[in-house]
Symmetry: D2
Subunit: 461 residues, 4 copies
């Protein structure tokens, strides 16, 4: 069964078939394809091209086909180019001539974009659900470990003391924007292409607005030539997936480093680690490395689809068929990556003692500078003075807190005995109480924001 061929003298060459047949990729669209077809049958009826009984028969048989897909009863044939062909073939087998009327005024060009948009809607919902789970896992761990201090790093060098929860939540804030991006995409792309035909539109009185409502779209596409050649919503989705994967790669990098023996801040659960075939003692953070590495794979789908689209003439060209391989790979891999991330965060063990032991007196330097500022020293000078103290201490091989007051005063006369009071990491941390800072009050506010987000995401799904 072929949707075309009357004007052809030869069958497709095997080499062409190998690459042309998209069924292995687009079979997963079967339900969306049937949904679109049911609605289209009704639209044909409303436009007077089918009577009610015919329409009813088509719809019922499309449901039978869905059942067979669900039950894995479909047998593919060698000539099945794609999911659209399979579904039409089955319908014609069940309904004869009637089934041959369904495609009236429709083209695979507008059909497949519609299918993809229906699929995408679900994929976005699922992805938002997984993002929510990861944010929840982060929030739970952050809440459970409130009050634990650790070195905060910039350039991977110790910078200032922060709370463990503050660090962990920083990753959730990146994910929060991912949710926003996906939500905006969902709304932006929610316009129906069906009724655009091959490129020129529909001449059969099909009511596209009715079709859109029927299929849950907020509107219809505005230009048929654009609609059939447009894959921007797929590119956008792969972009969103890539951004999530980048965020996960940074989370993974942090955790890989924090779970080295040298840092030892985090213990990754056995269930997310693997061993070595040669070295019996190894416990490797494979889950995290896979997350980090896969960001390249997911992002490569973005590069790929953009390169595939670049410079193609407008409307539909066969090049666009690869959209599905890119899209499904990005989605599937991101799903796996998110699932691992949820598991790792949920099961990781926080090593409070090691984190707090890693706080060192050089991390007080900024607060020491503020100490001088409060004594009236301009900040830039205060910064310089403390830098000199650090250098001095380093030369001596001592902590800055061990430099005698007299020598401090030689560097800057505003040092007083009260400098000794700027030595409590916990106390200092609480001073960072502007919105977004590392004080407990600020972290509690962050938790509130994220819990609201979780609630919203839960309501939507």
């Amino acid at each position: 069964y072929q949707l075309w061929g009357g004007r052809f003298c030869e069958q497709p060459h095997e080499a062409l078939q190998d690459l042309n047949i998209s069924l292995p990729y687009d079979a997963r669209l079967y339900a969306d394809d049937l949904d679109g077809s049911k609605a289209y049958a009704e639209a044909l009826m409303r436009a007077g091209h089918l009577n009610a009984a015919e329409c009813d028969k088509l719809v019922k048989n499309l449901e039978l086909i869905r059942y067979d897909w669900v039950e894995r009863l479909i047998k593919f044939e060698a000539s099945d180019e794609d999911v659209h062909t399979v579904n039409e073939r089955l319908l014609v087998q069940l309904t004869g001539d009637l089934g041959q009327r369904l495609h009236t005024g429709r083209s695979r060009n507008d059909q497949v974009v519609t299918d993809m948009k229906l699929w995408l809607r679900k994929a976005i919902r699922e992805t938002l659900g997984r993002l929510r789970q990861l944010i929840e896992a982060i929030v739970r761990q952050a809440e459970a470990h409130l009050g634990i201090l650790m070195p905060g790093y910039t350039h991977l060098q110790r910078a200032q003391p922060v709370q463990f929860s503050h660090w962990l939540l920083s990753h959730a804030f990146a994910l929060r924007e991912d949710c926003q991006r996906l939500t905006e995409l969902r709304d932006r792309s929610n316009v129906l292409p069906l009724g655009s035909g091959a490129l020129a539109g529909n001449p059969l009185g099909i009511d596209r607005v009715w079709l859109a409502e029927r299929l849950g779209f907020a509107g219809v596409t505005g230009n048929s030539m654009h609609a059939v050649g447009d894959r921007d919503f797929v590119v956008d989705f792969i972009y969103c997936c890539s951004m999530v994967s980048l965020h996960l790669s940074r989370l993974a990098e942090d955790l890989i480093i924090y779970s080295t023996k040298e840092f030892d801040f985090i213990k990754i659960a056995d269930s997310f680690s693997s061993g070595s075939s040669l070295m019996p003692q190894k416990r490797n953070p494979d889950g995290l490395e896979l997350i980090r590495g896969i960001s390249g794979l997911i992002t490569s789908n973005l590069t790929g689809i953009m390169m595939t689209i670049k410079g193609t003439p407008s409307t539909y060209n066969k090049d666009l068929q690869f959209d599905k391989q890119y899209c499904f790979q990005a989605y599937d891999k991101l799903t796996q990556s998110l699932n691992i991330a949820v598991g790792v965060v949920e099961t990781m063990q926080v090593q409070r003692h090691q984190m707090e032991s890693a706080l060192s007196s050089d991390m007080l330097a900024t607060d020491w500078a503020y100490y001088l500022v409060r004594k009236g020293v301009p900040f830039r000078q205060a910064h310089h003075h403390i830098g000199c103290v650090v250098a001095l201490a380093e030369q001596r091989g001592v902590d800055i807190t061990e430099v005698p007051l007299g020598e401090l005063q030689q560097i800057c006369s505003d040092f007083g005995a009260d400098i000794a009071s700027v030595a409590d990491y916990g106390h200092n941390v609480q001073q960072y109480d502007a919105i977004g800072g590392t004080s407990t009050a600020s972290i509690v506010e962050q938790l509130r924001l994220l819990k609201n987000l979780i609630k919203e995401l839960r309501q939507e799904s």
Copy 2:
């Protein structure tokens, strides 16, 4: 003048300086940097770290520095690492100790993200302005040439007759979504990072919400460790630029092909063409080829920044410094590309005669199939019958309209003499009157939508 160095024994090596100094790239942020600093000075005053006179003096001198930038009076010094250093150095030269107080509680980490966001706001506005110009040019040409028919292509093969205006507007609909993407980004990213410090937040009573309002932000970032290491808004912007450039590459490809001697649908103006150093007769569509080619350059900035960010630890790492090179290159190149596109579209000459001559009877095939459908033939069979007619005509080397009725009836008995009436391209085109189709009514509606968009964009800018 250096913002750091008290603890260092050696000067930076020349090889490091070569790459480290970002001034050639970030100098264009000078105004944003000054705006941020003025607001920060006021915030320091409101928090009690400066008195009113001091604040006033800082603000006034920052304005003096802006004047010098505008008048190109700034002299750079070898030690000027970046625009922040230059501005602080100048301020200290003008105000002494007072200038050294400005950086209290601030870090270049939160400062540069703030600068970039201020810059981005303007870049988005400018880009929307250029997109508007291009859409306007398209709309003008589409409106001026309403009613002209041309072959519509899929797979670059003649498909169905469409209106020239319908084809041209299809490109505007891609650009419309670009505007939407940019507008959403503008709103999504419009939260202030200033007050995040180096990573831990601000401990000096700075009112971030006030700062945000002062600088025109809708809110503040939620987590300081996230804020200083976040470049997602830059990646998002480069992504938006890449998508525009992809759309332009497809428009360019269409126009390059349409302006070949063989198609000859469009004449590109001399002012957007170049000649050959060897072949005197050449008139090459250089402008369009540059647009097509540059999409690779713009998109490569997206790939690059994603690869640069991938796998970096959280918060700030120096790797992030490259964000500016990627961002400014994408913006500058897109600006050039859009400017050319506007010019090409405005000045191109539409070759009505050549377009309409290119309509051939095989393009009636779909309408012939609908003819049979109206006689009661199921569409899939009608499709097959017409395919056979096409094959027959091709074998004979004649038009399908030249196949005698008798032979048509041998293929399908439903053919009647009235098939001759399905031969008027203009008439057929008008039947495609569903929303988004190629009928005049539908195109007029498309023009209305786009004019509304233009009006909105104009009000915003």
Copy 3:
């Protein structure tokens, strides 16, 4: 059966397994893995860790396992992480304790790189074979159609007359370099990593040089820590594949344009075309569009693997596991793409009449300039004069050959009546007789070069 686990308390989590298990990807390495293991067993014997009978038993049983793979008799188990695990599990099932000795001193780290290199050697040979087929198809068509003229294009605008064969062979010259690249890679990467262990090397007296010879390598890797973390040979291969695919994308673009109705220089065979589900007359060059589009997919594997590798610590990290997905996808897709290209070129129909009809007098312009040069006019002036003639003719709507001599002489007094003789496209073409030019003599030389290449490639395979 697991190659590790003694020190673990929990089983791997399902989410980890989903992504971690590489068997679906690396199963195709089974034969290479067995080859490597056979050689390693012998090396263990030569180093005194196995006796001859033990070694013999291992080798024989490894052969039995190979048989089962070939006959598809292998049953996978849920715990089968990868092909190495499967092969060791089967070996232990067949030989008990003895099989458990095979991995002595070996790690999957050096094992998998060895497997990949063995696989790559075959993949390169196969790819060279397919490139040879394509070059052969091109050479055959070029030879068969020697003497046919067509417009040569630059910027897709008519430039100078060339021979069809010259144009077609230009694509073969790009492919010739692809062969060179692959051959160099084959030689460059032909060093054995086995014996590098997990990272530190081999402490058991294994003779790596002997192993290398045994497995057909020209040498051994020089540093074990480098060897286990090195995937450059995979990146190189994907790069080579990407370059081939770029070349095919340009060939495809040419052919897509040449097979439009408007150019009509080439007819793509039915067997490499597809139709439309809606438009009965369509005959689309799907094969070529797939080739063009897939270049994005193949190249995306390059971007992906580079991004995955970027910034990973040295030696082995799990991120490297994705090398196989990238590599096999690039190889498989290139294989399909090359197969189609061979078929398209072999079956395409050359439309001599249409090509020669497309030659137009403006394409004589360069030869007219040379005419003036021969009369003593400096080239740059000659170029300008002919440009004026072209402009004049265009204004008049006539051919340059129709401009009266008197008017030519007003533009440049060196024009004589003999200008009429510079009007024979065929004659002009023959003047381009420098090496690489479009004269018949030069093309015959090109054919000779390519036939030599074909011979060499045939001897190697």
Copy 4:
């Protein structure tokens, strides 16, 4: 002065000029352009198109122009499209009509490819020189610190003890292959395109083989249509640069991690570090982070040029003009990156004590397994037993060397008192004496290989 324009009625539009003028990019090719022109003048003379005096005059004046470039005396004009235009304009200013004869039979299409190939030859030589310097720096440090032990890592988890020199040299072996890649490219691309004209070849009796020898090429390109549209050698070079940058990114990642306070294996010199504007104590490895980050920028040029080339029609299209931006950016950035790498490696301080303190008894596990193997236990069982010992020790919070013999024997009865002897890291390391292993003998051999390479590279430059 324009190289074309006779047939044009309008001047180029400003928007087109902005993007079209490539002078800012290609000016650096001035010397190559002059070299090519000198040779071409001689070729014209040899073919009888110039007499000896004319040729001599052209050559001398081209040398005068070179002098002005070197002395920065060239004044650009608004109409200077590219370096070819500038050079011809200057020549015509100096020599009048004679200069207008130089371009006879030449096109910018073959001219610019020739220039690029001449430039590339030097760029490869320079890059090989910098690679040599880096390998030398590595070799020096490795030799100076022979005998220092450190933990070898896989998955960033402690794996087996290795020598510091072994680890450091592992990076040199990646660079060695980079040298090989560049050398092969230099040879592969060393064929002259000049004489290909715009696309059809040269009809004026130019002796291309002589030209090739004159310009130091090993041969000539085989097909003129291929030659003018071929940028593969540029793509190849950018690929080579990207691979180097990937290697540097891994070296940088190692060093960034090793120079954290927690590892503390390496101290990066002050001269390759920077401080913080806020935190006085910071000493950040900026040089290394820039190296790591820039790998994204360099690689993005590869992605970009491939995307730009993809799907362009054959021969020359203006899209190809961007090759220079990609190529020069990749080269310049790699140069900066290599310079920093050389400096960092030369000046870094090796913290022997910290490295050796980080060796922990779990890293003996593999050698313990070999111990059991020597007692006759099959390796896979030995691996399992030691895994159990590790788990037991971990539960107890003790070293594996602290588990009493009795308990070891409960796990495996082959344990004996002599297990205590497998505890000397230094002794164990020496056993890894297969080629490429971490024993001193093996490292000395590695040093020898690399010194040979250095010698070869030095002779070539």
